[in-house]
Amino acid sequence: MATSFSATLPLHGSQENRLLLPPIRLAPPPSSFLGSTRSLTIPSSRRLYHAHAARRSPVVGVQEVVKEKKVTNSLVLCILITKEEGLVLYEDMILGRSFEDMCAQMYYRGKMFGFVHLYNGQEAVSTGFIKLLTQSDSVVSTYRDHVHALSKGVSARAVMSELFGKVTGCCRGQGGSMHMFSKEHNMLGGFAFIGEGIPVATGAAFTSKYKREVLKQDCEDVTVAFFGDGTCNNGQFYECLNMAALYKLPIIFVVENNLWAIGMSHLRSTSDPEIWKKGPAFGMPGVHVDGMDVLKVREVAKEAVTRARRGEGPTLVECETYRFRGHSLADPDELRDAAEKAKYAARDPITALKKYLVENKLANEGELKTIEKKIDELVEEAVEFADASPQPGRSQLLENVFADPKGFGIGPDGRYRCEDPKFTEGTAQV
C-alpha cells in the first residue's frame, strides 16, 4: 500500500530570526525552541554571536542561572538537572578531555600515527547530545570522532587500542583514528572525508522510518549526525537536508561550528555564516545554541530528539563551539588569534559545569575530584591495555574486505580463493 509523504514543514520566521517553531507543549518543563536572535556582528571583532535569548527563552545559560538567583518566569527552572544527571555529564566530559589529552601524549611518544584530530573544548556538544540517546540510536561523526565514540559507550580501551592499531581496537586496528565504528553501540563512524557521513546518517534515519512504516516495528530510533562548519559548504550537506526534510526522517543535524576548518576561517569561506538559517530554507527548524554550555546544548537536544522520535522530522542545530587545540596534532595552529583562544578558554565547558554543580549544591568538590581520579585511572588502564595488546597478524590482511569472501572470486584451480589456505595466512594472491 502506498504511503505518501506530507509536504515539507511550512517555512517560518522569514521576517525575524526569532522562534522558528511555535512552542512545543511538553510534559514539564515546557520550553520552546531557542529561537536564534543572534545578530551578526562585524567580523573584525571576531565575535559572531551574543545572546539575547535569556529574556525570552525559559532556557537559560549556566552563567545566567548562577548570576540571577531570582526566577522571573514561573515556567523557568532554576536547576536544569538532577545530581545524578549532573555527575553523568561531568564524568563524560572529563572522560573526553582526559582521553584526548592522553592521545596527544601518546602521539608525541610515537604510539599512534597519521592524522589525529582532538576534540578538546567541544565536549559539551558530544555530551549534551549523546547522553540523551539510547543504545539503539545511531551517531555518525567525522574524523574528530574519539569523543563521540566514548560518549556513545565505546570503551576507552577499545578506542585507545584502535588508535594504537592493535587487534583489540574497536575496528580491529583496521580503521584508525578517523574510523571509529561500533555495531554494539550504533556508532556508525568515523569518516575521513568531510560530509560523506551525512548521507550515511540520513540512511540510518531512513531505516528507522522504514522499520516503523513498512516493517511495522516499534522503532523510535533517531540518528544524530555531527559535522563541522566547513562541511556546511559541501553539497552533501544540502542534499541531505533536502531529503531529510522531504521524507521527515528522524535525524538531527548537529553543526559543531568551531569557526575554523583547518586554517580557513568560517567567515572567509561562507557567504552567509549563520548556518542555522539554512534549516528553514529546507523546511526544518534551525537552532543556534551556545556549544560551550552543556546544559543549553542538552535542552536543545532534548527538543530535537523528542521531535524526531515523534516523527516530526529533522532539526538543524548549530552549536557555537571551539577547539582548544589545532585541527590535528600535525597542525601548528598559528593562524588563530591568541585573544580568541583565550576568550573561549575562559568558557571551558568543563569548568562551567563544575561551577554550576558546586554553586547549586548538586555536588561537592570531593565528589568531582573522585570522578576525575576515576577517569584518570580509566584512561591509564586503557593505555596499558592498548600497549599490551597484540598487533594484527598477517592473516588479518585479507579479512573483512568482503562480508562474503567469495567476492575474491574463483582461482585458476577452480576453488574459491578464500578457500585457499594461503588466504587465511594473508599471503594469497588476490
Partner: protein
C-alpha cells in the same frame, strides 16, 4: 604482451539492432530439435553496405552449431515464459522484494514513473512509496543514504538512471560502499546493489554513453557483474540482492528489449562465474554485455569460414572467473578479448594482465584485446559506430590470431 586492436575504420556493417532480437535459446535440446527454434539476429552480416541505424534488419537463421548455447540449469521444464530483458530484471527484483521485506529500491523516477527503462514498473503500486523510493536528483546523497540504510539493516537496490550519473556518487561508492566493511573491522555489512544502464547506445552523446566498469574496478570491496541475456539478468539481479557484498550490476541500454524464454521455477546465477556461450576449440573469445552479440554475430561468419571459436561471457567483471577462463585458455591457447570498455585501463586491460600472469605458458600467441576507442563517444552515427568494436573487426582479429 598483448597486441591491442581497437575499433578502427571498419567495413560498414549494419549496427546491431536489438529491437527485434531473440536471444538464442538456452535449452539443452540436441541440435536436431533445436533446428525448429528460430534464432533471429538483427543486422545481417552479408549486407555490408547498409548502415542505417533505424532500419531493422532481421535474418532468420536455423539455429545450428554456430550458436550452440550452454544450458545453465540442469533441467528445463520445457514450459518457461518468454519476456524481455527489462522484464526479467523486474521479475527478479519483484521476487526478491516479495521474499524479503528489507529489500527496497531507491533512485530517480523508479517509483511513479516506473523507472526510465521500466525496470521498476508497477513496483511502487505494489510495495508503496517508501519501499520504492523516488529520490531527488542527488546521486551522491541517495547512494550514501542507501549505504547508511544497508549498514542499519535494509537491503537497498540503488538505481542510477544512467550509469554515468553514478560518477557523482563516486565518493560514496568508493569510500563508503567499498571500504566500510573493512574499516569497521567487519562490524557493518553493506548489502547494496547498485545498478543501472550504461554502455554506448544509439547516438546518446558522450556523457550518456559511458562505461563505468573501468572506473570502479579498482575499488576494493565491491563486486561487479554485467548481465547480457534475460536469463542471466534475472539470475544476477537475484544473486546480487542476496549477496552480503556490495554488488554493482551493469546493464546495457541497448539490451533491454532482448527477448528470451526463461524458466518458471526460481533460479539464481552465480555472481563469480563466467558463462560458456559457445564451446569451441580454436580460440577463446572473452566478452561481456553487448559485445557478446557482436561476437556471436562474428562467430557465425567464422564458423562459415571454418573456425571454431569458444565464446565465454565473463559476466563477473570483478572478480574474474579464472577457472572457466583458464580451462578455455588451456584448451585453445589463443585469447581474444572483445569489450566495449575503453582501451586504456579497461576491463580488457585487467583481464589481459590476469591471463598473462596466470596462463602465460599456455598461450601460443599474445592476448589480443579489442576495445572501444579512447574517444568520448561522438554523437554522429557513423563516428559512433567506429568507436565500438564491430563484428568484422572480430573476424579479422580471429583470423589473425589463428594463423
Amino acid at each position: 604482451m598483448a597486441a591491442r586492436i581497437h575499433g578502427g575504420a571498419a567495413t560498414a556493417l549494419s549496427t546491431f539492432n536489438p529491437k527485434k532480437l531473440v536471444a538464442p535459446s538456452r535449452t539443452n535440446l540436441p541440435a536436431a530439435a533445436r533446428s525448429s527454434k528460430r534464432c533471429i539476429v538483427a543486422g545481417g552480416g552479408s549486407d555490408a553496405s547498409k548502415k542505417s541505424l533505424s532500419v531493422r534488419h532481421s535474418q532468420k537463421l536455423i539455429a545450428n552449431a554456430a550458436v550452440a548455447t550452454k544450458a545453465e540449469t540442469s533441467a528445463t521444464t520445457g514450459t518457461g515464459h518468454e519476456l524481455l530483458l527489462f522484464e526479467a530484471l523486474q521479475e527478479g527484483l519483484e521476487e526478491e522484494m516479495d521474499r524479503d521485506p528489507h529489500v527496497c529500491v531507491m533512485g530517480e523516477d523508479v517509483g511513479h514513473y516506473g523507472g526510465s527503462y521500466k525496470v521498476t514498473k508497477g513496483l511502487a503500486d505494489k510495495f508503496g512509496d517508501l519501499r520504492v523510493l523516488d529520490t531527488p536528483i542527488c546521486e551522491n546523497a541517495f547512494t550514501g543514504m542507501g549505504i547508511g540504510a544497508a549498514m542499519t539493516g535494509l537491503r537497498p537496490v540503488i538505481e542510477g538512471m544512467n550509469m554515468g550519473f553514478l560518477l557523482l556518487a563516486f565518493n560514496q561508492i568508493s569510500n563508503n560502499c567499498g571500504m566500510l566493511h573493512y574499516t569497521s573491522g567487519g562490524q557493518f555489512t553493506i548489502p547494496v546493489v547498485i545498478r543501472g544502464p550504461g554502455g554506448v547506445g544509439r547516438q546518446l552523446g558522450a556523457e550518456h554513453s559511458q562505461r563505468l566498469e573501468s572506473y570502479f574496478q579498482s575499488i576494493p570491496g565491491i563486486q561487479m557483474v554485467a548481465c547480457s541475456t534475460p536469463y542471466n539478468a534475472k539470475g544476477l539481479m537475484k544473486a546480487a540482492i542476496r549477496s552480503e557484498n556490495p554488488v554493482i550490476l551493469f546493464e546495457h541500454v541497448l539490451l533491454y528489449n532482448l527477448k528470451e524464454k526463461i524458466p518458471d521455477e526460481e533460479y539464481i546465477c552465480n555472481l563469480e562465474e563466467a558463462e560458456m556461450v559457445r564451446p569451441g576449440e580454436h580460440i577463446t573469445i572473452l566478452t561481456y554485455s553487448r559485445m557478446r552479440y557482436h561476437v556471436m554475430q562474428a562467430a557465425k561468419t567464422l564458423v562459415n569460414k571454418g573456425y571454431d571459436p569458444e565464446v565465454i561471457d565473463i559476466r563477473s567483471l570483478k572478480p574474474f572467473d579464472l577457472y572457466t577462463i583458464g580451462n578455455s585458455v588451456k584448451k585453445t591457447h589463443r585469447v581474444l578479448i572483445v569489450e566495449e570498455c575503453m582501451r586504456t585501463g579497461g576491463i580488457g586491460a585487467s583481464l589481459t594482465a590476469a591471463i598473462n600472469e596466470n596462463f602465460h605458458d599456455y598461450l601460443d600467441a599474445p592476448v589480443m584485446c579489442l576495445s572501444s576507442q579512447d574517444v568520448p563517444t561522438p554523437y554522429a552515427g557513423t563516428l559512433e559506430e567506429w568507436t565500438v568494436v564491430q563484428p568484422a573487426q572480430i573476424v579479422t582479429a580471429v583470423e589473425q590470431l589463428c594463423q
